[in-house]
């Protein structure tokens, strides 16, 4: 049970050279591996390749294996790999609760059951009264929590974090790191984090890979 990258690299459209040397890496359940590197080296592109979000024209080579299943050829929606960006993008046209409901796995059926599942997740994130709120009225920290819960409800088997805390102020960061990494450990989710912040890497307490 782990997220494995095997000789993974990406070539941008029109380029002859891949962005970075082929990467081989194994992320254990509950472990957070940090990927660092200078701007423009292709850290976000690496996450795109793992999650299946590469723009047309980008060519990935190598393999992405999740819990023993090769997901390299699968579309993003079938990989079950969650992704969180620094702005914690909530869908602006949906309320906070409906954002979570958008993520909630379809196997949970019935209005009441689905509503209850979303409410439980909101409670867990300290956002109990936020079901009907406009996401634009949330603070950065609240948005990040809601986005993490949305991924959890989608029953993601692995998690990608793209500079998840960089837009938040320092006091809030420590708080959120605890919330994020605690969640990842509790649910044994292999996690890959891209960051510029050495504090993030230290708090993650996992291996650090320089790209």
């Amino acid at each position: 049970m782990s997220l494995d990258l095997i000789d993974l690299t990406v070539t941008p459209p029109g380029a002859t050279q891949p962005l970075f040397a082929p990467l081989t890496l194994s992320v254990a359940p509950g472990q957070v591996v940090t990927v660092t590197g200078p701007s423009g080296v292709g850290k976000s592109t690496l996450l795109d390749a793992i999650g299946g979000h590469l723009a047309p024209g980008f060519v990935a080579s190598g393999r992405v294996v999740l819990n023993g299943r090769d997901v390299t050829r699968l579309p993003a929606e079938s990989r079950r790999i969650g992704i969180l960006f620094q702005e914690a993008l909530l869908f602006p046209h949906l309320s906070v609760g409906d954002n979570l409901a958008f993520g909630l796995a379809a196997r949970i059926r019935g209005r009441a059951a689905r509503r209850a599942a979303v409410q439980a997740a909101l409670d867990q994130a300290g956002l109990s009264d936020f079901y009907d709120r406009d996401p634009a009225t949330l603070s950065g920290g609240q948005r990040a929590r809601a986005a993490l819960m949305r991924t959890a409800l989608a029953e993601s088997l692995a998690l990608l974090l793209d500079e998840p805390f960089s837009k938040l102020d320092t006091a809030l960061r420590a708080d959120l790191r605890r919330f994020f990494f605690g969640h990842v450990q509790a649910h044994a989710i292999p996690t890959l984090m891209v960051t510029h912040d050495t504090e993030d890497a230290r708090a993650a307490a996992g291996p650090v890979v320089a790209l």
Partner: protein, 560 residues
């Protein structure tokens, strides 16, 4: 899979947009060289060209077309650039005044301008007899003047706001504030910094719309019928008359003229491009001199004043439509009607059918165009941009309508499709679709891709991403694009005239036909109705998302 998608969309675009134009050009081109079996002409010959050159007023028509077309585009570009330079970064208040002029169809605006500037028009009435001493309309060629002045004025009132809109939206892509600050810190005044630093970067972004305006001004028909000179008229109007003449022998020289019209537009754009390159060289030399001249500010102020004058005229023209539609007795030189009446408005038996046809055509062509545009953009998202696709989309706006519409009608006649609503809808889509794309493509492509990646990571497949995320988030620009498309459809004249074979009557065809008649109350009514439809469409487009998304701050501006 993605290749199949690409091919399908490409085939769709080629079949729906490019093929009809090529087929139309082909038939027109054959007729220009003497081959039109429908009227028994089947011998390749240069006679149509000789006949064309011998037609009365041909040389004058040609000169008028070039002067009004190139002249109005050049002046419109200069004035719009000056006004945008004056207004940019200073709040959008005055800019809102141009919205009604953007929405109003060409024909309606032209009729309003005619009501304004005619010898018996509103302006003369407002200053008579106390200032002029006239108690009868003066014998002056203020309207349909042989130089094309009234036509150029009409074109300016319509095209300056369009170019301003295009420039304002392109400015959003440039670091305006920082660039101007840098220039001013180096000792250049705001206006001259604008000319040296912003304009050279702005122009490449608006080149396509400028060419569209040039092609339009060189081949406009409805506005030229209403405001332009009549004996002889501009080439496009002369061609429309010859194509519609009872004497079918005129069709061959008219076809030759249509090919010439296409050549004029191609040549005009080529010349314009040449002038651009030359100006760029001169401009660089001027930049290198480094003079911190102060003249630019006065230049921009003059442009701003001229635009203010044009916008005032345009708004007065729209008001004139409304006033005339409500007038009952309005003898010269009274400034306002002596008796008002709702009689015209209360007799839908007169205009109801034309209104219904206009609405049906507008809704159908907008729905089709919007579907095609969303399919196109969605295919791009999944399979990547297609090279040359832009050229395909905007081709119908660059080829003069008259150059291929008659030929296209010949094709439709042969297929037994001419004269029906279907043929008219299809012909309108040719022109509605490019404008819908112009309005929708940028906001669509600007949508944060990570929002879609997030949805995919949550397990949402392509269909759910489209219906559940893209369409609702883009509701505002989609509705705006629909309103733009509807306004374009309402304004169409030649496609309705030619493909409807005279059997499909819309508010626009009626307004243009009636405009030469004398009852201004009826003409005013048609003009007002025609101008109102796009207004309503825009009001809906702005109002609906405000209601749908009333509790969503993230969607009330930024993304749209």
């Amino acid at each position: 899979m993605t290749h199949l998608l690409r091919l399908t969309v490409f085939a769709l675009a080629a079949g729906a947009l490019v093929l009809p134009i090529l087929a139309g050009l082909w038939e027109t081109g054959r007729a220009a060289f003497g081959v039109l079996p429908a009227i028994g002409a089947d011998r390749l010959t240069l006679d149509p060209w000789r006949q064309l050159a011998a037609l009365p007023g041909f040389a004058t028509s040609l000169r008028l077309t070039l002067v009004t077309g190139v002249g109005s585009t050049l002046v419109a570009l200069i004035l719009a650039a000056g006004a945008v330079a004056m207004l940019a970064g200073r709040g959008g208040g005055p800019a809102r005044l141009i919205a009604p002029l953007l929405a109003a169809p060409h024909a309606a605006l032209a009729i309003g301008v005619a009501f304004l500037i005619a010898p018996s028009g509103w302006i003369v009435r407002l200053v008579s007899p106390w200032a002029t001493g006239w108690d009868r309309p003066p014998d002056l060629a203020l309207l349909n003047d042989p130089w094309g002045g009234a036509l150029m004025l009409g074109l300016l009132i319509k095209e300056v706001p369009f170019l301003m809109l295009v420039m304002a939206s392109a400015l959003g892509q440039l670091p305006l504030r920082a660039t101007l600050a840098t220039g001013r810190a180096l000792g250049y005044g705001r206006a001259t910094a604008w000319l040296r630093l912003i304009l050279p970067r702005l122009y490449p972004l608006i080149r396509l719309p400028v060419y569209i305006v040039l092609a339009f001004a060189l081949s406009v028909v409805d506005m030229a019928i209403i405001l332009g000179p009549s004996t002889p008229p501009t080439l496009a109007v002369a061609l429309t008359r010859w194509f519609g003449a009872a004497d079918t022998a005129l069709i061959l020289p008219a076809s030759a003229g249509a090919v010439l019209q296409a050549g004029l537009v191609v040549g005009g754009i080529a010349l314009w491009r040449g002038a651009e390159l030359m100006l760029a060289r001169l401009g660089r030399a001027w930049l290198r001199r480094g003079a911190r001249g102060r003249g630019a500010a006065a230049l921009l102020a003059a442009c701003g004043a001229a635009v203010a004058g044009l916008v005032t005229l345009g708004l007065l023209a729209l008001a004139a439509l409304a006033v005339w539609s409500l007038a009952w007795r309005w003898p010269f030189p009274a400034a306002l009607p002596e008796a008002w009446s709702l009689r015209g408005w209360l007799r839908p038996a007169d205009w109801g059918e034309a209104l219904g046809t206009t609405l049906a055509l507008g809704l159908a062509s907008t729905a089709l165009s919007l579907t095609l545009a969303i399919t196109w953009l969605e295919a791009e998202d999944r399979a990547g941009r297609m090279p040359w696709s832009g050229a395909l989309i905007y081709l119908p706006l660059l080829v003069p309508q008259i150059a291929f519409l008659y030929g296209l009608n010949v094709v439709m006649l042969r297929a037994g499709l001419s004269g029906g609503m279907g043929a008219v809808i299809w012909a309108q889509v040719l022109f509605v679709f490019p404008y819908v794309m112009l309005a929708l493509a940028d906001p669509w492509r600007a949508l944060d891709r990570r929002l879609l990646a997030t949805a995919a990571a949550l397990g949402a497949g392509p269909v759910r991403r489209l219906l559940g995320v893209k369409l609702p988030v883009l509701a505002r620009p989609i509705l705006t694009a629909a309103a733009v498309g509807f306004a374009v459809s309402v304004a169409q004249y030649l496609p309705t005239l030619f493909m409807g074979a005279g059997r499909v009557t819309t508010l626009t065809t009626e307004a243009v036909t009636l405009s030469s008649g004398s009852d201004r109350r009826v003409v005013g009514l048609y003009g007002a109705l025609q101008a109102m439809l796009p207004f309503l469409a825009y009001a809906l487009a702005l109002g609906l998302p405000a209601i749908l998304h009333r509790n969503r701050r993230g969607l009330t501006g930024g993304l749209g």
